[in-house]
């Protein structure tokens, strides 16, 4: 059963970023505003219509004043990070392509997409672009071969996502165990803690646990969907996109807390007890 979770995204950006217009990459080491990406649900149904006063946010235990809440207004950057190893040939490849196309077809005006395909070789097949047709063409061109570098690819997907200040979703799919990554899993999980991208992962690894992907999605406030086969990939991909669009962006200017290091964040909704699962925090200046 799909469990809806509260997703929390922390980003260190100027407050002015919260305008739904295309942005050029801007990075700052100052804590001008923290953006929390939140999915609130009750009985697995997203809760809509919440306002800034409805949220309670604690930064390192210090209550913060919520400045702004945005819902379904911001464009989306989605980085498809897809396993194209040898095991994805034949029908599985077609199922993956169909699922990927389904996500791309579900994007709206102003959204951007990118494609990172991987076997043992990681390839940025298409960088972030509003030209969705370009990404679709790259998806059609990708051919399965070789082994699996899911750790290297997940890192690359996060870096591509960070190339734009927009609201970013990295959607990782793999059907295999990592066989050839250079980067260590714990290093990439650490990057995930510091990243402003949210990672969702779909794993179709038979007889194995996707421990790395579980750690990454936990640190970014995403979700891991484990499938028995690639038959249901399309539905899984669309559920990720749908869930990601049901989120609030809650922004606050940190006060009464240090400007450095790890900030633990807690999000609550006043007067209710919804399902809330949030990114555990953020690194200031990372």
């Amino acid at each position: 059963m799909t469990r809806l979770r509260m997703l929390c995204l922390a980003v260190v950006l100027p407050l002015g970023w919260l305008v739904p217009e295309p942005q050029s990459p801007t990075f700052s080491s100052r804590i001008e505003a923290v953006r929390i990406d939140v999915l609130v649900s009750e009985r697995n149904v997203p809760v809509r219509g919440l306002r800034p006063d409805d949220f309670e946010v604690f930064d390192n235990g210090v209550r913060q004043r919520v400045d702004l809440v945005v819902f379904e207004q911001l464009p989306l950057n989605i980085v498809l990070t897809l396993d194209m190893s040898a095991s994805m040939s034949g029908q599985r490849l077609e199922q993956l392509r169909t699922a990927g196309r389904g996500v791309l077809d579900g994007l709206k005006k102003g959204d951007q997409a990118a494609l990172v395909s991987f076997s043992h070789h990681v390839v940025i097949s298409a960088g972030l672009t509003p030209d969705i047709g370009r990404v679709r063409a790259a998806l059609d061109r990708a051919r399965p071969f070789g082994d699996t570098s899911v750790i290297d690819a997940t890192y690359t997907g996060m870096m591509v996502a960070e190339s734009d200040a927009g609201r970013s979703l990295v959607m990782v799919f793999s059907d295999g165990l990592d066989t050839s990554s250079w980067l260590a899993a714990q290093d990439v999980v650490e990057v995930a803690r510091r990243s402003d991208a949210v990672v969702y992962a779909v794993s179709a690894v038979a007889l194995a646990k996707a421990d790395f992907l579980r750690d990454v999605v936990t640190q970014t406030g995403g979700r891991l969907i484990e499938l028995d086969s690639t038959r249901d990939l399309g539905a899984a991909f669309l559920s990720v996109l749908d869930e990601f669009r049901q989120r609030y962006l809650v922004s606050y200017s940190p006060t009464g807390v240090s400007k450095d290091g790890w900030h633990a964040v807690q999000v609550r909704v006043k007067g209710r007890n919804p399902s809330i699962k949030a990114r555990p925090g953020y690194f200031a200046g990372s």
């Binding site: 990459p25 990075f27 940025i124 690359t156 960070e162 059907d175 050839s180 250079w182 194995a208």
Partner: protein, 419 residues
């Protein structure tokens, strides 16, 4: 080419759904079950006629024998060599399996010259070459379970379990032949070269089932041999790889943990370096293993020392990559960056040092540089750069590849006696 096909021993009872569970039986025989005399005659003829390195008719026919037949042959050969070596009375009469004969009559009985049985060692070595060739060239190409013991193994490709396999009986038989070398296998140059070449072949093929028993057996012949200690360390390092550990966990295989494997590998590499301090490949791998064990300063020292004498590009690349990793763990980011940069210079198409440089940049919060490092390499067509990163083949790459060692073995053997 599948880069990560893995074969690891497993117990039949532990296989889970989706994996073949039927035990592999030693069954099919294309030859009639032979009595001991024709069986030995048949085998001697095959050994004599076999051309090392080829899956010729002799190899194919012996390759079709069952494990039971090979076991019977082994018993007969051991008995035979013991008698011909120990007994000096050529007229003494023996009764073996209901056949009565004297030692003087034995060559004629078996259809060979007397010298063939008297000298012994060349025949045993040639037999070992035959059975190694069967294991490498004949049995792997067969879809049947010929050449298998009941021992189970799990095979995995691309990190996924794809079926079951078995431990090769021809390796067991070949080792048994060499066990009977006089005065001992450790005095035979052919046995040593045979060992190096066949271990290398198993390591390249990621055959960790045959590899384990093979290495343990051979290590007893050559307990202080630097090259074999190195290969043994290589084996344990490979078993620490995440994919091997993951596959083992998935079939509930009681494989020692990655840390235990690395510790064993570090010790074997250390012993190899005691025997031969110039064995640079062992030093590079020991450096990596020490780093993986968290002994970063020792790893750095070992890799610095290894770098000094390296000529091979692959080894230099590995040394720089691993040294960069050790420096990074020590917080020496500038040094790490230099190492990764030198690795890039050695293998410009390789993605691993670019990923490492990117991660270094990301550690310091420089997201633009982090992405730039990736874009310099990861936007190229995959087919153009598919095999450009030596890291991908680290667990199967050896400075002296199996094909070279096997060619040396065959050439050396055909050139003349080894002792």
């Amino acid at each position: 080419m599948l880069l990560a096909s893995v074969v690891i021993a497993a117990r039949p009872a532990t296989f889970r759904a989706g994996v073949q569970t039927a035990p592999v039986q030693a069954t099919a025989r294309s030859e009639e079950r032979l009595a001991w005399v024709p069986r030995i005659r048949f085998w001697l003829q095959a050994v004599t006629e076999h051309t090392p390195g080829r899956a010729d008719p002799s190899a194919v026919r012996i390759g079709a024998w069952s494990g039971d037949e090979l076991d019977a042959l082994r018993t007969d050969l051991v008995w035979l060599f013991k008698r011909t070596r120990q007994d000096r009375d050529a007229q003494r009469q023996y009764v073996y399996k209901q056949t009565t004969f004297t030692l003087a009559e034995l060559p004629a009985l078996l259809g060979v010259d007397a010298s063939t049985l008297e000298t012994g060692n060349p025949l045993l070595e040639r037999g070992a070459l035959l059975h190694a060739d069967i294991a490498m060239l004949v049995v792997p190409t067969s879809l049947s379970d010929q050449g298998c013991r009941v021992t189970q193994a799990v095979t995995a490709n691309d990190g996924l379990i794809v079926g079951s396999g078995c431990e090769g009986i021809h390796w067991i038989f070949a080792r048994a032949l060499l066990d009977n070398l006089t005065p001992s296998p450790s005095r035979s140059a052919t046995a040593r070269l045979w060992s190096l070449a066949t271990i290398a072949w198993m390591l390249e093929g990621r055959d960790y089932t045959d590899g384990r028993t093979h290495l343990e057996h051979i290590q007893r012949w050559f307990p202080a041999d630097a090259d074999i200690l190195f290969q043994h360390g290589y084996y344990h390092e490979a078993l620490a790889a995440p994919v091997v550990q993951a596959v083992a966990r998935n079939v509930s295989l009681e494989l020692p943990s990655a840390r235990e494997q690395l510790t064993e590998a570090a010790e074997l590499f250390r012993r190899a370096l005691v025997s031969n301090p110039d064995l640079a490949e062992a030093r590079v791998r020991r450096g990596r293993v020490l780093h993986a064990l968290g002994q970063d300063q020792e790893a750095s020292d070992e890799l610095q020392r290894a770098k000094a004498g390296l000529l091979n590009v692959h080894l230099r690349y590995y040394a720089e990559l691993f040294l960069g990793d050790a420096h990074e763990a020590l917080g020496q980011y500038a040094s790490a960056r230099d190492c990764y940069g030198r690795a890039v210079a050695l293998c410009p198409g390789a993605q691993s040092p670019r990923l490492a440089l990117s991660l270094l940049a990301r550690r310091t919060g420089d997201r633009i540089a982090a992405l730039h490092e990736l874009e310099t390499i990861l936007t190229r067509p995959p087919d153009e750069w598919a095999y450009a990163d030596p890291w991908w083949t680290y667990h199967v790459w050896q400075l002296r590849p199996a094909r070279d060692l096997l060619a040396e073995l065959r050439t050396s053997f055909l050139a003349g006696p080894s002792q």
